[in-house]
């Protein structure tokens, strides 16, 4: 093992140790309140994790950072409001419709704006996804106005209590969905031919197309998957967060930091990154003025990029010379 590899391994275990130490210290210092903080942190963290997974899916296959990923979740939540609250449809139907519409939109955008420009510079693609984000926010404001909207929790609001800490039932739905999503995404990318081909297409497009997976197909599938995943996440999150036309930006930024922390391109990484970020943020808010809590996400982002850009669970990227 080269010295750089062993340094990286030490960094990885070192950061795990630091996070564990912080969590344990909080539990000791604050007792049952510490447990509450951890639980709240995990709830917030799984929301980040869901958005982070969307980033990962697109990045791992196309090396594109989709600044509009948060917007998919926002649209999912708003559409759910329209279907289940305004149109009084049963929630399961509302979920399916919301996800279907956003997925179709994501796929359509990929074909119209991303695929034709895949050879252009990094920064051109970044601007396009930023344009998409602005467009989605503006359309949401046009259709639904500016007020936050309420969507009923799936199984009610009565808090669940144990060991002095509490959790709302919707949090369990979020945890459950996160687990389901990461299992499905991981299985897709590591066990199916299409998924494996898509990952290959990012590193070696020619070899991948020999196996029948062109980078064009890869990009389309990735965007479709990310849009659908984002929309579903938005539906599950909405009862906790209150869907609002402006929700896309905040979700996007935090989810993005979580994705980098966990490793862009790794679905389990996204989950780990999200959960760690959520917990660290919540703990910070209880010790420092909470305005600094947002700084945690960005400090971690920069630290990770400088020291270990592939994040906790990602693989180092080779740069073409």
């Amino acid at each position: 093992m080269s010295t750089n590899d062993s340094r990286q391994v030490r960094l990885l275990w070192g950061s795990v140790a630091v996070v564990a130490a912080i969590v344990v210290a909080t539990l000791i210092d604050k007792g049952s309140i510490g447990l509450q903080l951890i639980l709240s942190g995990l709830t917030v963290g799984s929301i980040y994790a869901l958005v982070a997974m969307g980033f990962s899916v697109i990045y791992s296959t196309t090396r594109v950072i989709n600044f509009a990923q948060g917007g998919f979740s926002m649209l999912g939540g708003m559409l759910m409001y329209t279907f289940s609250v305004q149109a009084h449809l049963p929630p399961w139907l509302g979920l399916i419709l919301a996800v279907a519409i956003v997925t179709a939109f994501g796929a359509g955008f990929e074909r119209a704006a991303i695929n034709p420009l895949k050879d252009k510079s990094v920064i051109t693609i970044i601007i396009i996804t930023i344009g998409l984000s602005i467009f989605m926010t503006a359309v949401a404001k046009w259709i639904w106005g500016t007020d936050p909207v309420k969507i009923a929790a799936f199984t009610g609001e009565k808090p669940l209590r144990f060991l002095g800490a509490s959790l709302v039932p919707q949090s369990l739905w979020v945890f459950g969905f996160t687990l389901l999503a990461v299992v499905l995404v991981f299985a897709f990318f590591n066990r199916t031919l299409l998924g494996k081909g898509m990952r290959a297409a990012a590193d070696n497009p020619d070899a991948a197309s020999l196996v029948g997976v062109s980078s064009s197909t890869s990009s389309l599938v990735a965007w479709t998957l990310a849009a659908g995943l984002g929309a579903a996440a938005g539906v599950v999150i909405a009862p906790i967060n209150f869907a609002q036309y402006s929700a896309g930006t905040t979700l996007g930024l935090k989810g993005f930091s979580a994705a980098v922390l966990g490793g862009l391109g790794s679905a389990p990484g996204a989950v780990v990154g999200g959960l760690v970020l959520g917990v660290l943020e919540t703990i910070t808010a209880s010790y420092l003025p909470s305005g600094y809590k947002d700084a945690v996400a960005f400090l971690i982002l920069i630290l990770v990029l400088l020291v270990r850009p592939q994040g906790l669970l990602g693989k180092p990227e080779s740069v073409k010379v």
């Binding site: 090396r63 034709p116 998409l132 602005i134 046009w142 305005g291």
Partner: protein, 361 residues
């Protein structure tokens, strides 16, 4: 232009000549803006141009960084903000502090910050650099909000005095217009000189292939940091001018949205083209006002649309996407091609006339 060999000095001369033409055109703006009645134009051109001018300072620097240095920054609003807060704090806390000195201080401090963060961060490339600069910009925003004793927190700093240089007060938009755009022209001059100098050539080598440039003995990291610091200084200058223009600042003026606006101006205007920054600034600063004025210029628009605040942002997002799809090299490139094309045709015409003259002898 294809197939045309021109001497380097001829290209330089042409660029300086364009700069003079642009400067003349710009300074005539307030003159002819006076003569178009307000209810035809529906926008205050001089006011918008001052804002465009202060943004231009930042965007010209960013254009050098992105287009020539090949780097990305999604956090440049932070430098803009450092410049603004520096002069605002100095001029409101120390009532004797002259505003022109505040502007210099703002630009200098922005440069220092740029150097401090640039050195570690510029080791990153591409997407990673974009992400890191984004994070830095957000941290700066949080600091502007949280360090209340210094920055006034979320309430901000009020009653910033107008710009005054040795007794001359620039307190109206009209007067400020000339100062700001004179500075913009100076910055453009500096940029042109930089691009044509040895440093500029090193930057272009770096842009096309950092590894090759390294192999050739170009000290890539030093040049990268230098151009980053320069762009930070320009942005700080713009921010300080902004503070004396608006006379009130709060952290909301320096968010990620502004960083994104800057980078969008560079890309829409045209990276790698010396005029890209200026073109992008003017287009994107006027775009919202133009969209807003549309219902009044085109009377037939349906009522759902004429409440512009609904559709303005929708249109803006679509236009951004559209620009990237149809003009990915930027508007300046398109203009240069059109200009070059026309000039080439004119030249051909002249050559043919000359040839015919020779023949008829």
């Amino acid at each position: 232009m294809e197939g045309q060999l021109t001497r380097q000095s001829e290209t330089n001369w042409r660029t300086y000549r364009t700069l003079i033409i642009v400067a003349v055109f710009v300074f005539l703006v307030p003159v002819w803006a006076r003569f178009i009645p307000g209810d035809v134009l529906h926008m205050d051109i001089v006011n918008i141009m001052v804002l465009a001018g202060v943004y231009a300072c930042a965007v010209i620097g960013l254009n050098l960084l992105v287009g020539y240095g090949g780097q990305i920054s999604l956090g440049h609003a932070a430098f803009f903000g450092v410049g603004a807060y520096t002069t605002a704090i100095l001029c409101t806390r120390l009532h004797w502090f002259p505003s022109w000195l505040g502007i210099i201080a703002g630009a200098a401090l922005a440069g220092v910050v740029g150097w401090l963060v640039g050195k570690p961060v510029l080791r990153l490339k591409g997407n990673y650099l974009a992400m890191a600069t984004l994070g830095l910009g957000e941290i700066a925003f949080i600091l502007f909000q949280q360090v209340k004793g210094l920055t006034g927190g979320t309430v901000g700093i009020l009653d910033i005095p107008p710009l005054s240089v040795f007794g001359l007060k620039f307190d109206t938009d009209f007067k400020l217009f000339f100062v700001v755009w004179a500075l913009v022209m100076v910055l453009m001059l500096l940029s042109i000189n930089l691009v044509y100098s040895r440093v500029g050539r090193a930057l272009r080598a770096l842009h096309s292939s950092e590894v090759a440039a390294d192999a050739m003995g170009v000290n890539t990291s030093r040049y990268k940091v230098q151009v980053f610091v320069l762009s930070a200084v320009f942005a700080g200058l713009g921010g300080a001018l902004f503070a004396h223009f608006q006379k009130y600042i709060n952290p909301e003026s320096f968010t990620l949205a502004l960083s994104i606006l800057f980078i969008t101006m560079v890309v829409v205007g045209g990276m790698g083209n010396i005029w890209g920054g200026l073109v992008g600034v003017v287009i994107l600063t006027f775009l919202p006002s133009v969209i807003q004025a549309l219902p009044q210029w085109i009377p037939g628009l349906p009522s759902g649309l004429s409440n512009f605040s609904n559709y303005e942002l929708v249109l803006y997002g679509l236009l951004l996407i559209g620009f990237m799809i149809f003009l990915p090299k930027g508007v300046a490139y398109g203009l240069a091609r059109a200009g070059g094309f026309t000039e080439m045709r004119a030249r051909h015409l002249r050559d043919r006339i000359k040839a015919r003259k020779i023949e008829s002898h």
